[in-house]
């Protein structure tokens, strides 16, 4: 497949790995923000190829993992008690709420559907005019245009039975929050390529300057990641801290103006709670008040008690890169992908699950 296969070429990989080994003289700690990058690093065995001195830390970039427990509880409630058709992505429905996941709600008889796209949910709403259809719209900036588009489509079709339960988070405030934590020892960032495809790269200049840290907008294939790491290490070794763009084939500096427009049209920025991290100011998107009819949060009055997160789970520290998953006392013991205690064990994007799946417990 063009634009994929060539970025997996073993020879190119070898030359990048060689160069990386050649230039790395000291230990460096780099965070890849995005769970997709984590996934690719472990799935392709890349971690195995990096110099020992290059230590990768897995960031909070898994939207299903950082979705707050009470929103999952709300989705479960809507599915179980309000009888809505609750739609979402496959990895979202396995994330545990305080009582159960959407998958367990489904096991209990709720109508929960796994979709490839929010636009499919609009079709379902069209097919079932007598039912309420809710799309559990999780995601970072990358997914926001698609979720916003689903609202635009529903509006265009005059549907009154479609709404989204938005759990949208934004990357730059999260990077800022990570770096503001005094325990954090991150020296460089791979910024998330697909987020920047939408938003462009300008948001990151301020972060680079504020935290004096190199940042490279990076893609997802092995060669992309190696190049991104190499560019970061080169900066680190040279004592520089700038913003670079490894992933220019799909990330123009200005991002995607159409996508930004539709996001603006449907969403507005809000403070947002991140599971395992806490509330980060201006780090989320919510549906604009004028579109309240499409906002499941406003459409359905649901009051569910807020439940504290699991005390054993050190997800917050894992998501901030302070600890590795295997440093958690529950990792691979009480907490496994079949029975996750915390969010990062849930999606195969999650840092804990990625370690569990691809590295093997204890490896």
């Amino acid at each position: 497949m063009k634009f994929l296969t060539e970025y997996r070429d073993p020879e190119v990989v070898e030359s990048y790995v060689g160069e990386l080994h050649k230039i790395t003289t000291r230990p460096w700690t780099i965070m890849e923000v995005c769970g997709g990058q984590t996934h690719s690093l472990v799935k392709n065995g890349l971690l195995d190829l990096l110099p020992e001195n290059v230590r990768m830390v897995h960031g909070p970039g898994c939207p299903v993992c950082v979705t707050p427990v009470h929103l999952i509880d709300k989705a479960v409630y809507l599915a179980e008690e309000k009888g809505v058709i609750m739609c979402s992505f496959g990895d979202m429905i396995r994330v545990p709420g305080s009582r159960k996941s959407l998958l367990e709600a489904k096991a209990g008889g709720a109508d929960v559907r796994i979709l490839y796209s929010p636009l499919e949910a609009v079709k379902i709403a069209q097919q079932h005019p007598d039912r309420e259809v809710v799309f559990f719209a999780v995601g970072f900036e990358t997914t926001a245009p698609a979720n916003a588009l689903s609202v635009v489509h529903a509006q265009r079709l005059g549907l009154t039975n479609y709404s989204i339960l938005a759990s949208h988070v934004l990357v730059p405030p999260a990077i800022d929050a990570v770096m503001n934590d005094e325990d954090v020892r991150i020296q460089g960032f791979l910024a998330a390529g697909h987020v920047c495809t939408i938003m462009g790269i300008s948001e990151y200049y301020g972060l680079v300057e504020k935290h004096k840290i190199p940042m490279v907008v990076t893609g997802f294939e092995p060669v992309d990641l190696l190049q991104g790491i190499l560019m970061t290490v080169r900066q680190l070794e040279a004592g520089r801290a700038t913003l670079e763009n490894q992933y220019s084939r799909v990330v123009p500096a200005e991002g995607n103006p159409e996508a930004q427009r539709v996001i603006q049209q449907v969403f507005e920025v809000t403070d947002r709670e991140w599971r395992g991290i806490g509330t980060i100011p201006h780090s989320g998107l919510e549906v604009r008040p004028e579109l309240a009819a499409f906002d499941a949060n406003r459409k359905f009055s649901v009051s569910i008690p807020k439940v504290p997160e699991c005390v054993d789970c050190i997800a917050g520290q894992v998501l901030k890169g302070i600890k590795k998953p295997y440093e958690c006392s529950q990792f691979g013991k009480k907490c496994t992908p079949e029975n996750p205690l915390g969010a990062p064990m849930v999606s195969s994007e999650g840092a804990c699950a990625a370690y569990f799946h691809f590295s093997g417990v204890g490896l």
Partner: protein, 96 residues
Amino acid sequence: MCLAIPGKIKSIDYQYNGAVKMAKILFGGITKEASLEMVPHAEIGDYVLVHVGVAISVVNEEEAQKTFRYLEEIGELDELVEASQIDRHDGPGLDQ
């Protein structure tokens, strides 16, 4: 986050009375429908990056080659001068 992969536009059609531009997109043999609303200028034959049913970017073929020349370039660069800070608006770090 954000699983997105590049595919080639096979055909384009319009839905909702022409209001929505949709495409059939080829991914290594399979075809899946995606919205082109976010990439209005995309044409048949273009490669677009698709995420959850929405094309979010047209792949830039020229930029795509840079990764394969990068090691060479930095080799040449290293030989020439010690790299200086790349400035905010037009350094090679942003453009490549």
